[in-house]
Amino acid sequence: MSAEREASEIFEEFKELTPSEFFRRNKQMLGFSGKIRSLTIVFHELITNSIDAAEEAGILPEMVIDLKRIDKDHYILRHQDNGPGIPEPFITKVFCTMFAGSKFRNIQSRGQQGLGCSGCVLLSQMTTGQPVKIRSGYKEGNKIKGVEMTVKMDVKTNQGLILDRKEIELDSTGVSMELHFKDVSYSLSEQGAFEYIRRTMIANPHAKIVFKDPTGSRYIFDRATDEIPPMPKEVLPHPKGVTADDLIFMAKHTDKRRFRSMLTSSLSRMSNKRVDELEEITGIDFNKRPKDMKWEEAEKIVELFQSMDFMAPPTAGLIPIGQEQVEKGMIEILEPEYVKTITRKPKTYKGGVSFVIEAGLAYGGKSGRVVGEQKKAEIMRFANRVPLTFDQGSCGITEALKSIDWKRYGIRDLENAPITVFVNIVSTHVPYMSTGKQSVAPEAEIMQEVRQATMKIARSLQKYLNAKRAAKEEAMRAKVFETLVPVVLKEAAILAERDVPEYIEVMKKVTRNAGILGGATDDE
């Protein structure tokens, strides 16, 4: 038995880690587990950052991506965009400081963890020891400033170290970077980087990506539309969506002097009239300083929110891709025989979080995925236009789609149909199931919307398939009558031992029926 030790002795070893140090020890928490997945996550982080940045600046996004294989599992990735660029003072923060970013608002956005770029740099540095080379071109007044930097991450301080810096001349804004990776792997599978780009293009038809793959092949994914989607507005939280903790947090960080004004300015749909009602029912003094708000009071208010009627949350914060744009994206990439898309009206889940479901069905052409020599159906899931590549099995979207009785829509076996099903959920708060943000929780309202949206367009697909079938059948039916009427009459005449009578009139009557199925009853 070891001798007893005092607490003070034990606590000599006590230390604090920076976020970078922490994630260096726990890289799987950033999604970096498995070689294929790791590379796909890198593509995801860089592409979503580029598109977000271009859109925020009102620019049509365009990327040039070049992935070179140096050795087995060893790659160099060059990623260049045409966004607004990063001002020099922020470059090391964006690339080397974890938990830093511009996406922490109550806003619909593609990424939102503040781990993206810096996570990729961490992975690069951990696996290859290489610094990252960055070029940023950004406007200052009317001029474009250009800077080139070589930067390392100092995990002990969670800060960037500039190894090299020079100013350069650039014609346009944008960021380009060069990263080295080991222990990653490029794959054409459903989980791989190529498929990630392809799906991104479907959900972002206004973007353009030129991709050079490790074999040297160049793929140009052209944009299907020139419309930049409008920027989602930052939207105040809806009363039905806040918790007591949220209220206390707001109260602590507001610049308002009074609780009353804090409420009206921090929550949407919160009129003075509503505040008066609240004050009367709760008996709380709403003129006190926000910081004096007690937890019990916050809880009481939140409870009351649940029973009060509010207008649905404002939907200015939600910018779906749009029915027409999804269609364009699917046509551009899938070249289908038939496509139908839909963008539904905003709904809410958990009482106050609004979301929009968009769905698309493509049939024929390059729809579906080729397995062996067969076409199988494929499901493409997106959240705020970002492809969800992993954890398909546990995703509420998949579950909702599987629960549809596809036979009712003329699709006997979804699995084996040449169909691509597209679903995008748009929300400021997508309820992800797990850390990796790769699957959507099966919230009842979301599942219901996914079903409704998909069934609606499935009905259109069914009509198309039926019409196609019907045209074929009508021609066939006319032929049946022309062939069989003489047969019946010949046989009947032999049976009756009479001559075959004139039957032009009867034949006319009969062929008039070719277009319709009905006629006499038949009880089988």
Partner: protein, 350 residues
């Protein structure tokens, strides 16, 4: 009018309705009595299933129906040929012959269905149309002489396995007999047992080996000996729902063949097989009822053919003891027991 002429007239009539319609410039349609379950009715007076009066129309103006009409008249002509030349064919042969017709069948099943349609439409049994089933009928042993064409056959002198009822049993004439009754048994094992133990002598009986579910020819034979020779018919089967029902189909006809039950059912035949009471009284070796047996028994309990007290009691009793027994299980008491003891006791009690 004999059966043959009647059949030919019916066949001709089918052709006439169609040609008549055309001459009246109306689209021909053939009335086909419905064989759906809702049109099969148990006739309490006749004590067997009959077809109700619902029917469907097969019109030349309907793309699905015209094909069936074409098949039906082609088949009618084929049968007309058979009847005229006094030949027969199996439905399998007809299926192959139909390859040469202007309209053919997608499968044997399809041609079977049209065959049944033709039967109900004309109200004539398939055998009268010259269409024979593949299956042979039962074996008969005992002192009866029949005449088939010009050959006289004595079923006690046809070998240990007796006389085989052929599908053309309706052409056979009963010449002579010297028996009091007919006992039909489910298995050939029991048939041979009875022959060996000389049951035909002991009970002055014909012995009929059903070989499981009775063929149409067997049922026709049993009906004929019952009605023409006034012989009581006893059916001795295994003590399980399947044995019960083999007997019941002989007695009251099957639902599926409601349209020909007037030719097949023998309402006066009696069940003399193993009952649940026998299982108890004779302490027979048993097997437990399987799920499917229980299910079947419950179905039988609801069937109108089993609506009398005897059957309701026996079914209830069997469900209660949860056991079934084969006829051969009497061998527990020795091979002769079934003939020496069981049958006499059963016959006495009837």
């Amino acid at each position: 009018m004999n059966r043959r002429d009647f059949t030919l007239a019916k066949l001709k009539g089918l052709g006439n309705t169609i040609i008549d319609d055309v001459e009246k410039n109306t689209v021909p349609a053939v009335k086909v009595p419905s064989r759906g379950t809702s049109n099969i009715v148990y006739d309490q007076d006749k004590r067997y299933y009959v077809l109700g009066d619902r029917y469907g129309q097969r019109s030349l103006g309907n793309v699905k129906q015209i094909k069936k009409v074409a098949q039906m008249v082609s088949m009618a002509n084929f049968c007309k040929g058979l009847v005229e030349t006094q030949k027969t064919a199996t439905i399998r042969e007809m299926y192959y012959v139909s390859e040469g017709w202007d309209v053919d069948f997608g499968s044997q099943d399809e041609s079977n269905l049209i065959g049944e349609d033709l039967e109900v439409t004309l109200g004539i049994a398939r055998e009268d149309l010259g269409l024979m089933p593949e299956e042979d009928g039962a074996s008969v042993y005992g002192n009866i002489t029949i005449k088939d064409d010009d050959v006289e056959i004595n079923a006690a002198k046809s070998g240990k396995s007796g006389y085989s009822i052929s599908p053309t049993i309706d052409d056979v004439e009963f010449v002579d007999h010297d028996v009091q009754r007919v006992i039909a048994v489910e298995t050939m094992g029991m048939f041979h047992r009875m022959v060996q133990e000389k049951a035909y002598k002991k009970f002055d009986t014909l012995i009929v080996g059903l070989k499981g579910q009775a063929a149409r020819a067997t049922r026709r034979f049993l009906k004929r000996v019952n009605e023409e020779l006034h012989l009581p018919v006893y059916i001795c089967n295994d003590g399980d729902p399947w044995g019960f029902h083999i007997a019941m189909v002989i007695i009251s006809g099957s639902a599926k063949l409601a349209h020909v039950n007037h030719d097949l059912a023998t309402p006066d035949a009696k069940f003399m097989g193993v009952t649940a009471s026998d299982i108890i009284n004779y302490d027979l070796p048993t097997d437990p009822l399987k799920d499917i047996d229980v299910l079947r028994l419950k179905e039988l309990a609801k069937d109108p053919r089993y609506k009398n007290e005897f059957w309701q009691n026996e079914i209830k009793k069997m469900l209660k003891i949860g056991k079934k027994a084969e006829q051969q299980s009497f061998s527990k008491y020795g091979l002769e027991y079934v003939v020496d003891t069981y049958f006499p006791e059963k016959l006495d009690s009837m």
